[in-house]
Amino acid sequence: MSVASQDTAIRTGRITRTLIYVVLILFALFYMLPLYVMLVNSVKPLSEITGGGMMNLPEEFTLEPWFKAWSSAQIGVEPTGLAPYFWNSIKMVVPAVAVSTVLGALNGYVLTKWRFKYDTILFGLMLFACFIPFQIVLIPMARMLGLMGLAGTTWGLALVHVVYGIGFTTLYFRNYYAVFPTELIRAAQIDGAGFFQIFWRILLPSSGPIAVVSIIWQFTNIWNDFLFGASFAGADSQPMTVALNNLVQASHGVKEYNVHFAGAILAATPTLLVYIVAGRYFVRGLMAGSVKG
């Protein structure tokens, strides 16, 4: 009896599971469609695209659009391709991510392990930073950058992103360190470790998962940012996103869709790579601190 009922249980399970998989695969395909269109059209000659059949596989395979987008497309005055802007973005993203993550970790450390009067209010104010829309700060920020002599520079842009990112990184690290056993800090104090020694030797080495979250979040946001890049960057410090926009929006000549597609993929690659390399830590880190134990 029980064996028979077990059998039917498995069979119904199999049917439901098949259904679930079919639906999931359909949604996955639908979701992947834009990427397919971009990839396929980035390796076609322009004539194939303008002749219709966006969904078709390329008849003639060419990597020419990729090379053109990278090194010779007309963006701005010189036909430089996206390459210099790519390096602009790197020069902006790496320091901005590093500094905002380290500062967030320090803030989280102080807010949880070196409690002081009104620390929760201070933390609340820092959280508030997460909810300020970008547009509000554009003009004051431009003035500030001007006063600091950083207007139109990559460093200025990095600074803006650091300031904007600290709210988020502080939130992440504070929540992570809130469940970090305070006894460890006390043990280190008794052992004679100072403020920064505890931070570097005890806390940071145990912060892997949340550091990954902070880095992915900051990297994605800063790399993908367009508004600050368009507002604060000079002609020679524009990030990748702004350059891609200039490439696509260029009003002269023929619209080279294959080059545009290739450029868009180039612009999206770094964030994809970061997510693929560190992604499995992402969810783990996001969950850490939210659930006890």
Binding site: P181, E183, L184, R186, A187, A188, Q189, I190, D191, G192, A193, Q197, R201, I202, P205, S206
Partner: protein, 370 residues
């Protein structure tokens, strides 16, 4: 002047005073246990000795130098935490030597000290492992190793055994005691477990509500508890406390209380000073092990009284049999030999060792005799 002096020390958080005028002086080589229910302030006091909590008023001195405001690392103390607080990213060896490294001890000396401590605690084979790969008992040893390697003036233990399972806890308890006997170090040990307090300590401070209720040797605390709280907190099962009246018979004070059926029992006190309480109500404290069958009564006692009462429940526990009954309107537990022939519902003759009986003032709950 002790080795560690806690002098009229208080602790307040804002307007709330959580420790009231604590006065304890610990001699060199003493094993002082602070015991009490959670929230009694024992851990706060330990943290104040460690320097992890500020002292609101009063003074704490180690070897006659005032520790108020001195950084924890400069007090020459070491602490073992309840969670062991091992640094998860370091190996056992690095954990043990971290304190020495922070104090600027050169590497060869650190290595040497680490080897010695590891040998003492038999954790030599664990030195290259991470704390996550250790069992509870091993972590406990490493935590002790980290404390020992510093060769501190005072060891502080904050409920170090409460995360271990019951069997390991007993083993580690013995081991800590052995270590103390071998090294003769000064130890302040916090626990809520009265058995740990009794077995380990040379002196116990029983704390409740931010006050030290009683400070004394385990024997003093057990036999002459200062008040009802100490009497019922220390000992398992707890001391029976029942209302009784003092009556004089042939000029000797007796305790009078009701049996299960309302009839009165009259048992002679050993303490003559209770005559002053004639006619008044007191609270009578009887330890379960002083309430036995007649054959099991303490032969050395000069004052065994007998009474007959009905048994309500018997609980055989292997080594002992616990018998509960009604005395003075309270549930009272007697501790019998396991082979005592008792059954529920039976009228049974009990022997009470009145030499060990304790009397309390029902108003103040303080001990009035012995």
């Amino acid at each position: 002047m002790g080795f560690l002096d806690i002098d009229n020390t208080t602790k307040s958080y804002g307007a709330v005073e959580v420790l009231h005028n604590v006065d304890i002086s610990v001699q060199e080589g003493e094993f002082l246990v602070l015991v009490g229910p959670s929230g009694c302030g024992k851990s706060t006091l330990l943290n104040m000795i460690a320097g992890l909590e500020e002292i609101t008023s009063g003074e704490i001195r180690i070897k006659d130098s005032v520790m108020n405001g001195v950084h924890p690392s400069k007090r020459n103390i070491a602490m073992v935490f309840q969670s062991y607080a091992l640094y998860p990213n370091m190996t056992v060896g690095q954990n043990i030597t971290f304190g020495l490294e922070m104090h600027g001890t050169p590497k060869p000396e650190r290595e040497k000290a680490m080897r010695e401590v590891a040998k003492l605690l038999q954790i030599e084979q664990l030195l290259d492992r991470k704390p996550g790969q250790l069992s509870g008992g091993q972590r406990q040893r490493v935590a002790m190793g980290r404390a020992l390697v510093r060769n501190p003036d005072v060891f502080l233990f904050d409920e170090p055994l409460s995360n271990l399972d019951a069997k390991l806890r007993v083993d580690m308890r013995t081991e800590i005691k052995k270590l103390h006997q071998k090294l003769g170090t000064t130890i302040v040990y916090v626990t809520h477990d009265q058995i740990e307090a009794m077995t380990l300590s040379t002196r116990i401070a029983v704390m409740n509500g931010g006050y030290v209720q009683q400070l004394g040797t385990p024997q003093e605390i057990y036999d002459s508890p200062a008040n009802i709280f100490v009497a019922t907190f220390m000992g398992s099962p707890a001391m029976n406390v029942l209302p009784a009246h003092v009556r004089l018979q042939k000029d000797a004070p007796h305790a009078e209380f009701s049996l299960h059926d309302g009839s009165l029992a009259l048992l002679p006190f050993s303490q003559k000073n209770l005559a002053a309480w004639e006619g008044k109500e007191i609270l009578l404290g009887i330890r379960p092990e002083t309430l036995t069958d007649v054959d099991g009564a303490d032969r050395k006692s000069s004052n065994i009284a007998e009474m007959t009462n009905r048994i309500v429940v018997t609980e055989p526990a292997g080594s002992d049999t616990f018998v509960s009954m009604q005395l003075g309107g309270k549930d009272v537990i007697a501790r019998m030999r396991s082979d005592a022939e008792v059954r529920a519902g039976q009228d049974f003759t009990f022997a009470v060792n009145m030499e060990k009986a304790v009397a309390f003032d029902p108003e103040t709950e303080a001990r009035i005799a012995p």
